[in-house]
Symmetry: C2
Subunit: 199 residues, 2 copies
DNA sequence: GTCTATAAGATGATAGAC
DNA sequence: GTCTATCATCTTATAGAC
């Protein structure tokens, strides 16, 4: 039953994948339906059939990216209980993005264009960052608990700040890295942070 | 003598200023000569008279931004000898950019589009970051010297990594901040870093 | 220096044939 | 579902009048 729709489904998926990479490279304001059509080997009108507007397509692309990321975070939670190891894997996820064509994080690019984005795309970008912050805060909290188990002063907002700090470094280091030395630069920056934060 | 050219000079300057703000908001791939013309109140052809191509205009805009930044760094060096104070002022410089219309750093935006930029624009962006890294490394080195004056192991590349780390946080925190809470978020992230780095 | 006029091509989007 | 054809608008850039 599903096989009969495989051709359509495949085109839909190809558009989402190619659009994601184009946005990572050119940004929302810099990519076009023409770019997608030549890469997928279809006509512009076909893209409009699946995604009536550019903002709708972008919303779907970001939602997909966000969901993929969430899924990976759940995988990490299942893989290990060691919070330090979780952080290492998390940093590796960003490094993997950079390794592929010097790409930056999709939501890092969209954050740069944030004030010009359609409302629903903005919402997806915000959701991506807040989900990541929540996951990181949880990990950082558990590390702090291990370290100062007998100390009473546990400042909630401090752990949250540390999560935002880690997120900022990852997004910022991706930007810096491709203007300077690439992956090795990203690696030395992020490792330096982990050392300084005792993570 | 110079007064006779003031009208021309003024238009030239206005174009540079407006183009800078447009790139900070829309990016290189997202701004147009039409955007500039309506804001300055001139025709597109007039812009082409002063700046024949978009890439030339952008190169000039980034060079100007970079020189202004360098000048401010020299001012800071003249203002104080306290390295901690220098860092504080430096962070404040980024915070000031964010405060104005939720702008991000011009070179942060261009770093996001880096792989799609004309060669000479790329060069200016790289120069901006390396100049800032050098200035920060110098400051960090002097702080480390104060702290461990009697220790022999001074790792040069460590201070450099710390400079790149600080730069990454500043660029990354600007991105994060405008998707989430704005200046207060930027402030809590950067203060958290300075505390952790003992800067 | 700044303007009007215009070029040649790209943009997001729609109508209708197959 | 995908195509061709077309739209109105926007893009960077140039020629030539004032």
């Amino acid at each position: 039953m599903e096989k009969t729709l495989s051709h359509q489904a495949n085109t839909y998926e190809q558009i989402v994948i190619v659009a994601k990479e184009l946005i990572q490279t050119y940004g929302y304001n810099g990519f076009s339906y023409a770019d997608i059509s030549v890469r997928v080997g279809i006509r512009k009108a076909t893209i409009h059939y699946h995604f009536p507007t550019k903002s709708y397509l972008t919303k779907i692309v970001v939602a997909r990216y966000r969901e993929n990321f969430s899924k990976k975070l759940r995988d990490v939670d299942r893989q290990t209980d060691d919070p330090h190891r979780k952080i290492q894997i998390y940093v590796q996820m960003y490094s993997d993005v950079l390794k592929k064509n010097d790409n930056i994080c999709l939501c890092g690019m969209l954050a740069a264009e944030f004030t010009t984005l359609p409302e629903d795309v903005r919402w997806e970008v915000q959701k991506f960052f807040s989900e990541n912050e929540e996951w990181l805060t949880k990990i950082i909290k558990s590390i702090v608990l291990l370290k100062v188990a007998d100390v009473v002063t546990l400042d909630e907002s401090c752990d949250q700040d540390e999560a935002w700090l880690l997120l900022s470094v990852l997004e910022g280091a991706m930007l810096i890295a491709r203007t300077n030395e690439g992956v090795p630069r990203f690696y030395s920056i992020t490792q330096r942070l982990l050392k300084r934060l005792d993570l």
